[in-house]
Subunit: 472 residues, 2 copies
């Protein structure tokens, strides 16, 4: 691309969104560097449109000039899907200024918001009406709903409410032709044609630019309580999950598992945190949301855990008696990644399996990893209720973590991803493909599926200007 | 297409699936005539493959000969989407012999079954393991899961469990190239590429042929109970819905509304059925599913309805005290379409709206219809919890119903569908497009969405041989 074309495009973009919203100079790290600091790109310009019409105009201008567009929300992605490449030829299109809540329809339990709204802002907007937006994840203070949708984000409430996909009723999208598709419906049922909405959700900015969405809300629960249970085996954890589902139904809103070594690391690096239960190979954190109140919820928990003790599924259990205790139990769980970081660099996985296959997968894969990498330490924890494990691998005690990461990451990944295959597991449960896992996708996805994905990409983005080099 | 090409294709098909499974003679009404008896086609042959590999081979043979394929499940669709046209040149591909349950994974709460399995068979297979397949609709004794998926069927449990789409975890599909996509996953989270699954669901056989699916299961509830409540206005019904959601949470599994004239028709044609509540403009049927048992469910219902009486939302209410009473209440609701049929031909609608817009839509549209068609009678009932009304229009008392249908159907449809537009409603909530509503789709769907649908159709079925003339 020659300089004249670029200059011409920048002029048009400045006229379209205002010169102050076309950034080409100074420190643009906030948009060009991903927050894991693994990818640093260089944009032709960071463009910050303020409305859907401006997004469409930017797309039309870029298309006319053959310039690629990388859409970005809160820049909290984990797979390098939202920063430009190093060529200096791509437009980084930030959606952050599209940040209006357009409507909250209480009777219809629906909220319509623009793509750049920060997730936490939307959670609060719902909560002010005594409603719940049931999407919650670590980055909620800075991630945007557009990014959540583009990546089909998961989080801690998937067991009850599903992924972001299941929470979305409708979308507004700017297409590759720079047209606006108004699919902002609050309908629960609408069988008039192909499911375009779900095609855009999870497509990581490669098929269209999500500019707004209508999301499902739910009544706020009257009470949310937690409990911890100690299990000897992962099989027992899975049996406890089954019992909890039968007893609590949709009241079971969280079921997290933590391996002994994961909690050992928390104890080592955050000694002030109470461990709450005696040492056990596996500790389960259960969360219950109730429409009646604290007391009946706690009674149900006690009855459930009493049965689990009788059946020998759990060795010990504790039910939180206050909100502060509940929060302390969650803090244990949430401190694991931080404790891991304190312990040093490590190889992270975001895998999923059928719940029925998890125990066997872990037993087998632990053994193979330990045989191949003597002394290796497994930090295993995650959303067991969803079959989603963060099956992380830490260097042997005393070994150099950075060296282990640099030398063994590929071999460890290959071993773990290969081990998933006979169980029908996924090598990316929550985080997506982005730039990081593109090669794995080509290796591991069925050729029939890949061919369909490529033909859809060509159909909806014939010039290939939306987030090139990501996903496909 | 000349006779030689047809003869050659039939020979290949007979070799592929066996001569006995290629039907060209005798009475083929079971496949060529839809069950509403509105569309009668003539197939080149009815082909009944017995395996996914045979389906793929049939598709390859048809593609090589340029012959169109109309896939069919239980032939219970309502929009003419599953019968061949009258040309005698299309292959009717029946999936009914693909009827194996391939697996039930209890711990993972998932069932994998072939497309031709009858829905009720799958419900029973789940129930035998104390599990629930939460999809239920009037045609469940003869519709197939493949057809349910192809049309994204709704039914009576959508309020709690969503449409068929929300219940599906994975698909196996034969593509237009005659390849098999094995997307049969039991995973709850898998962000590896575009959402092909949801693209096929609801595409009515126009993008690929679903040959098997993995469906979500849930624990069987310990008890299911019902109640009736009488409301003066639709606004009061919507307020009751809000209260019931807050009090019962996910325990609220049904919320149906019945207008006075709908119940009058039931009383007229089925006088033996008990009416249970004094006459009121609107009667609501609530269903609750509970993980604990009958008694606590009934207590919760009584507390809820007590509050609703106090708040003046309902004038009277009754909670079923036995399974037989619950069934009798459902029978009232289910007798409405039968009573309508007894009353004579009528104009049926399957519309949806945001719940918040329903009362205003009905008030306005009732008035316009009555002004335009004096004496017209509105049979209004449906899944209020999902915003889905069967807003049916019956000829004036004493008028000839058949004549009214023949002369006024188009005018009534246009009036009703036009009235939906300012509220963001849908003219096909559950039943799909098929052949019946293709013209409406072109009229009423956004041109941007239509263009995307057409480009996806061209990408996945470039020869246009899958169910031509349906949807698009």
């Amino acid at each position: 691309m020659n300089t004249m074309v670029q200059t011409d495009l920048l002029d048009i973009l400045r006229r379209t969104v205002g010169a102050a919203q076309v950034l080409t100079e100074g420190d643009l790290s906030a948009w060009e560097l991903d927050w894991r600091r693994r990818w640093r790109g260089k944009a032709l310009a960071v463009v910050r449109p303020g409305s859907t019409a401006e997004v469409a105009a930017v797309v039309r201008a870029c298309a006319a000039h053959g310039v690629a567009i990388v859409p970005q929300g809160g820049n909290t992605g984990l797979v390098g899907g939202g920063v430009p490449d190093a060529s200096g030829t791509q437009v980084l299109l930030s959606l952050q200024r599209l940040n209006r809540v357009r409507a909250i329809d209480e009777a219809n339990l629906a909220l319509t918001a623009e793509a750049g709204c920060v997730l936490q802002t939307l959670q609060q907007a719902a909560r002010e009406r005594s409603l719940l937006l049931p999407l919650s994840l670590a980055a909620e203070g800075s991630c945007t709903i557009g990014g959540n949708l583009a990546t089909n984000a998961g989080g801690t409430q998937v067991l009850r409410w599903g992924n972001t996909r299941e929470l979305c009723l409708g979308l507004e999208v700017v297409t590759a032709a720079g047209e606006v598709w108004d699919g902002l419906t609050g309908l629960r049922k609408d069988n008039t044609g192909y499911d375009l909405r779900n095609l855009f959700i999870g497509s990581e900015g490669t098929l269209g630019i999500i500019t707004a969405a209508t999301m499902k809300l739910a009544p706020l629960p009257a009470a949310t309580t937690t409990a911890l249970a100690a299990c000897e085996t992962l099989d027992a954890c899975v049996a406890l999950l089954k019992l909890a589902r039968a007893r609590l139904g949709a009241g079971l809103t969280g079921f997290e598992v933590m391996g002994r070594f994961a909690l050992d690391l928390v104890a080592r690096h955050f000694p002030a945190l109470p461990r709450s239960l005696p040492d056990a190979p596996w500790t389960v954190l259960l969360e219950q949301s109730d429409t009646e109140g604290e007391a009946p919820a706690r009674e149900r928990f006690e009855a459930l855990l009493g049965s689990a003790l009788e059946e020998g599924l759990v060795g010990d259990a504790v039910v939180a008696t206050s909100l502060a205790q509940s929060q302390a139990l969650w803090q244990l769980r949430e401190s694991i990644p931080l404790a891991q970081a304190e312990e040093g660099a490590n190889i992270k996985h975001d895998i999923s399996l059928p719940v029925s296959a998890i125990a066997e997968f872990v037993t087998r894969t632990d053994a193979v990893l330990r045989a191949r990498f003597p002394g290796v330490r497994l930090v295993n924890f995650g959303h067991l209720g969803d079959g989603n494990l963060h099956y992380n691998v830490q260097a042997a005690e005393g070994a150099d973590p950075a060296l282990f990461l640099a030398e063994q990451e590929h071999a460890v990944n290959t071993l773990v991803f290969d081990a998933l295959q006979p169980f029908g597991g996924s090598f990316s449960a929550e985080h997506g493909i982005g730039a990081l896992k593109r090669d794995e996708l080509v290796l591991r996805k069925s050729p029939v599926a890949l061919a369909m994905m490529r033909s859809i990409k060509a159909a909806l983005d014939p010039q290939g200007l939306f987030n090139p080099g990501r996903v496909l």
